[in-house]
């Protein structure tokens, strides 16, 4: 229907590629268009809450990229605005829609592995973002682990109680000098009793490494990486296969499409979104608690943050 962007060339390119007629650098023009029923907010994080509130006030249903914000009070305000307006809000935790991860959740939810005892999440990027980005990213736990916090909640169907984080700047000392870490292990206790171990790195030289496992009383279900092709070469040196898909655009290409199809379907069928405002809020709390745990060298209860 329409696109808006503060960068005019990108906006025009997108409008042309999507055969979209309306394009404006002022998103309020879109909000004012009564033929538009829903918007997707993909702008920078610091603009999310403001646009959510304006879109809600304009009666638009909202898809918003994660994180909603880094400030809990600000998130609560935005979620209140959404609730008051009675519009639907779906947060962009795209990994839930990855067919492999969705299948794992489906098997856990159906009881195939019994009661969850241990969840393991490996999440490593192929390379760190620019240092300038790191400095404003909110730190690894809010920028990167936030996806894994969401995944732990999604896979277990449970809220978390407590977090303990260790980390260091092993990939690049400059990241440490900027006050952040690039390698971390985070453990969680969930309210349903399950224990979680998440490991993160800003640089896996072999590409995007995204693996999960849920182990329970009746078995274990996991999902590994996906490769661009299924070739297997056997030669004098060994057996060789393709590296994992390089980064999120490749790995989650399917997930992004399914995520937006799900949003559209939720609107058409007047259902509850699959990733709610609360689902957007909780991982921010978890990221803030993990940050405090790392700084203070002790386990932190989420109630300390959200209290």
């Amino acid at each position: 229907m329409a696109v808006s962007d503060v960068a005019a060339p990108a906006m025009r390119e997108l409008a042309s590629r999507l055969h979209v007629k309306k394009a404006s650098m002022d998103y309020r023009e879109l909000l004012a268009d009564s033929t538009i029923h829903a918007v997707a907010i993909c702008s920078s994080t610091d603009t999310h809450c403001r646009i959510i509130e304006e879109a809600a006030a304009a009666g638009k249903h909202i898809f918003c990229e994660k994180p909603i914000d880094y400030d809990l009070a600000r998130i609560h305000e935005a979620l209140s605005a959404v609730e008051k307006a009675g519009v639907k809000l779906q947060i962009g935790f795209n990994r839930r829609f990855d067919p492999s991860f969705a299948k794992v959740r489906e098997l856990v939810a159906s009881g195939s592995i019994g009661r969850p005892h241990v969840i393991r999440i490996t999440s490593r990027d192929p390379g760190p973002p620019p240092l300038d980005y790191i400095k404003v990213s909110g730190g690894i736990f809010l920028d990167m682990t936030i996806h894994d916090f969401d995944m732990a909640r999604f896979l277990s169907g449970s809220e978390a109680e407590e977090v303990y984080a260790i980390g260091d700047a092993l990939v690049d000392p400059a990241i440490g000098e900027a006050g952040d870490v690039d390698t971390a292990i985070v453990t969680l206790r969930l309210k349903n009793g399950a224990l979680v171990a998440i490991d993160n790195s800003r640089r896996a030289i072999y590409g995007y490494d995204q693996r999960i496992e849920v182990f329970g009383s009746k078995g274990s279900v996991s999902a590994g990486n996906r490769a661009p092709d299924a070739h297997v070469l056997m030669d004098q040196a060994g057996v060789h296969e393709a590296k994992p898909l390089h980064f999120f655009l490749e790995r989650y290409a399917e997930a992004y499409v399914i995520e937006l199809q799900a949003f559209v379907e939720v609107l058409l069928k007047d259902q509850e979104p699959l990733v709610t405002g609360r689902d957007g809020l909780q991982p921010v709390i978890m990221g803030l608690a993990a940050t405090r745990s790392l700084r203070e060298g002790r386990p932190v209860k989420f109630s300390e943050i959200n209290g």
Copy 2:
């Protein structure tokens, strides 16, 4: 730009989905449109040669689904028309564009496995087509194995010399009564010395089974099936994974897109198509020879057919 179909509802549905303005039940209207530079012929096999000839005469570049025809003389006529018109023709052997198979070919072509000695191709459908289709299909070797004949040529970069086929109606006796087989093993001798074994079945209960291997003097490269997701469930009964993608629309979804992108690029860059008219002709010869081999219970040289 435009679509044509003898089935009006399907045509209108497609035109709408592709945001295409022009739609006509008479394909000649499209051929007469000077703003159209290329056509894709996806009609029934018996119409291919005629439309190829008319499109060539109209100066259109042509993408045509396989097989071109079952009649060698008719194919030669159509290829002559294309050559005379100086237009480009690409035949729809989509599997060449599957990323896994393309990677195998790339490794063979680059010498990673040395000189090819043995090629193995497994190609099994999830279920047989309707009996009415079987009766007019030209037989399993022209309808199904034809893809594997193309694959053997593609992987090896060599023409074939001789074929021997065994087969039976093990899936459904009615297929046997219709004069066809539903299970077959075909062996080929290639001109470069390599030996090929192809096995086919009309019904793999676990889904579409598409695997290849090229074994050579310096190693072996293979490509297996792809699954809809990468989950692994371990329980008291064993370790379980998803079945292969169900059929060609799922398995070769990527390949179909890449195939047409390649056709467009060939036109834009004025290059040789990646699947030529000759590539369309040879597998038909191979299918006819395999059919004769099965009937006569002896190896058949391709020169007998094409002589």
Copy 3:
């Protein structure tokens, strides 16, 4: 109990390693020992029948390495001697006792894959034997494929009807000059309707390649290679694993132990051996027929050989 060998040092070394008291270069001394109830014949193929007959006459149960002999009349004589003496004879088709292949047979026999339609066997050695050996080996089909012929009978539980073989000296022209081939594809029609494709090579540069698959009306079961360790290395170049176990001594180490345990158990429980004299005879017939097929360039029925 005792060992005999024409090579004295090897004999003494073995006797010492096994803490065996009795050792003689004349195997007849062992046959004359009434405290010995069973013998294992592991001498050169041309001595098998003679020793079988003498051991049977001496009332010993017999384990004999494959092949019994290359001469069918001679095999029939030896088997008659065994039958007349009422002793048990087990032939050394060790691969039947490999845990993976045994599991595949178990699943086929239990009906897990329904009625077998297609059997695929890949059997490749890491390197050819010395040319002097090749010259007296009886040819690839009697020396190497004989194991695969046994495997086809074992997996299917069916006799074979007809064979067609193609082959060439692609690994080493000298093997061709010696009148043999080093690369071959053999297809079989079994009496139960199943079709078989066997591919052989005398040299797989990555090691011993031993894979089987039985495909049927209700599914497919396969078994691949086994590696010395389960490591997986992911680096900038790709994902790397260990090559298959190098050759038969490594790959079938477990199978050799289980094979002899099974022989002992058969004697203790007075049961039918799991690999009978007939099981030793049939693959020789199949090897002779395959040899004729290759020479004459046509399918050969086994009844032609055994008639």
Copy 4:
């Protein structure tokens, strides 16, 4: 040479099976035998230190099962006795000799993955031991995780600095009532900077689950479970493989043999044992620290324990 056991029938059975002449219920008889140069101590943990000291005093080289003891002072005494006597001592951390784990260590040590950043260890038993055993086991961290503590040191080549443990009785509440946990996640900081996550469960319904991964600046190397056979069944329900080998006797059968061969070779070549007394001590310190961490809900430095 000789065996000793407090259980006479087991002793006699073993002596007979190993063709060993000397057997005595008093191990001191063996220590007094001047023809014996080395002993393997496989008795209950509370007897280890005493027998080590007596064996050392008798000038015997010593292989001793893990753990040496749960009391650090007692371990130090025993190690001093060994040092004073100038005999060799190898501790039974068998997993180091598993071919897969040894290969992972080899690749880490050779620099294939660069500098280690993250180590993940999954170690789950197929079922908990009897409650009576649990009560005297020293707790999960000294009884079970001790192997993983050794593995972390072995894989990284680094000592550890700090531990944090979370755990619960999720498998069996009775284990909780006995003051222990049956499910745990332990994180370590190593002196070389690497971070470690270990997850344990007393009951994996699908069998013994033993997996490791070392992730570093240039890649990652892992080793998974091993199965009793390599069959793959594809049917209408999915793709199915064998469960992992059931427990340590099956999974580490090879490792136990290699471990003792290594001990013999160390003696014959007068080398440093591959698992030293210090290697026996450190994991006990780590287990004690993890136990304290769980009880006090905080990270514990190893210097607190060993100080």
